[in-house]
């Protein structure tokens, strides 16, 4: 699947396109198919996000997983600070990133 990610303008936080808006949780990422470029143009034009780009991902039984390690780390947070990730109470969360 193709998923779309970018950064929230105000906070800089990593966000994922859900089909109708942006989410902090990669598991809400929608398959944008061939529409990524079109969505980026519209959303960046509306100043909702910036630095947006399309990546390869996979829908697994555990959730949506970006293909590349860099995007998986973006999706979760720094692997060396589990307390600052999106799943601070889940010590196993780092395992799907690496």
């Amino acid at each position: 699947m193709k998923i779309l990610t970018g950064n929230d303008l105000k906070s800089g936080a990593v966000v994922w396109w859900t089909g109708v808006g942006w989410s902090l949780d990669v598991n809400n990422a929608a398959d944008v198919g061939e529409d990524g470029t079109k969505i980026i143009a519209r959303e960046e034009g509306a100043q909702n996000v910036f630095a947006a780009y399309v990546i390869d991902g996979e829908k697994t039984s555990d959730g949506v997983r970006p293909a590349h390690i860099k995007d998986r780390i973006r999706a979760l947070g720094p692997t060396v600070r589990p307390d600052l990730t999106l799943k601070p109470s889940d010590p196993e969360a780092v395992n799907w990133v690496i």
């Binding site: 105000k10 936080a13 973006r74």
Partner: protein, 544 residues
Amino acid sequence: MYKYDQYDQQMVDTRVAEFRDQVRRRLAGELTEEQFRPLRLQNGLYLQLHAYMLRVAVPYGTLNSAQMTVLGDIADKYDRGYGHFTTRQNIQYNWIKLEDTPDILADLAKVEMHAIQTSGNCIRNISSDQYAGAAADELVDPRPYAELLRQWSSFHPEFLTLPRKFKIAVIASETDRAAMRLHDIGIKMVKNDAGEIGCQFYVGGGMGRTPMIGPMIKEFVPLDQLITYSEACLRVYNRYGRRDNKYKARIKILVHELGKDEYARQVEEEFAHLLSQGIEPPLAELERIKPYFDDPAFDTGASDDLDLSDSDFRVWVERNCHAHKQAGYTIATVSLKPIGGIPGDASADQIRLMAQLAKDYSFDELRVTHAQNIVFPHVKKADLYTLWQKLDEAGLGTANLDSVGDIIACPGLDYCSLANARSIPVAQKISERFGSAEKQAEIGELKLKISGCINACGHHHAGHIGILGVDKKGVENYQLLLGGCEGADTSLGKITGPGFDEDGIVDAVEKATGVYLANKQEGERFLDTYRRIGMDPFKEAIYG
């Protein structure tokens, strides 16, 4: 230390107001990211892997307690309770919100700090010896000259759009503690045969994808020509540095391609022209700056006696303290590398504690080192045990300076959008395996440096042992380098061979130290043994 005059303060305050308006326009949709990006970068605001990152300048690594306190407060108020001290003697915050940035810059301006020129193709923060003004072995305090260069390079209209970023270091000791020859310009304060103080210029050093050791291009520049000669070096680079290829745009490539003699000749030509223009600030300006760096009011009767009956304290003194020029005092380094910790990170509480301790025990002064540690430059030996106890209680008493646990590591793929591999977990694993006092004592001085990509922010080329993280078909892979050094005898590390995975690189480091321990002669450091026996025994042990 230096105090802003009305011009310094006005410039910084004006920039804060200007950026506040730029942020307002960006948030209101009046500026696109393309338009805004160069503006935020000029104010040290990057976009990193997870969020905006703000890099704050610490000129030549010197700061006072009030400034350090504000750095801790910013970590609490605007970030997530910590900051990261960098290999350029700066501090970075990893979780900054755009809308908060003008207020952060305003807070910084109140204590004479800013984030200007911590990004972009301009002259960056001037770095220096972290022991400046305190070391027993220095010729003069290099910081007045670094400050003069800071004033010259700040907002210099001709050098705000150079072909690439530009880094200058100034030292004044035979022992180079600032990696001077790995800078675009390295300046060493020297004395000539007539007994006059002047500047020796090394140009074209650097790390990154094409590491080079800067050659000396001018043996002696008189103090009243320092700025003119620096300007000539920059002008030749600005005119002929390559703008067509980002990877060949640093001055080291120009100096290498022209040859140092031809580059020096062109600089001389420009220098002669500039001398006729009279651009040098009057020496009176340097004389105005110098008193800001006068010695504090040392107790000239202070004793050199130290009670070392506490063995943990004794090890810390042996490892982390350095000879001071004033009898009865010492230079104490706080390691930000606890066993298994994140190199260079400090919590807001730790930052504020160090600020308070500097006020109580080091004449209100601290230094940030390029090895990502903090220095108390002027500690009376009579106060040292109390200082260490307070540091130790806060997790800041680790005794590992310049040993295998004192690892330089860039933020790597955990934070950096340019990185190819994570640096910090490798540093943590090495620190855990080698961090015990016994192991560190056995191995002795060993500078280990890790970068998560070829840009070499972790100085891997200059590590006795260097580690470079690369992306091998989407998987992190780590190359091992041996034999780098950043001191007076600067050398570049050589790659041992094929890379390793995360656990494999830690094993490889253990094998390399094993070769050292098996072959070392009396008094030899790891680097000395490597230089004597060469790469082959190490390769055989690592790959054999």
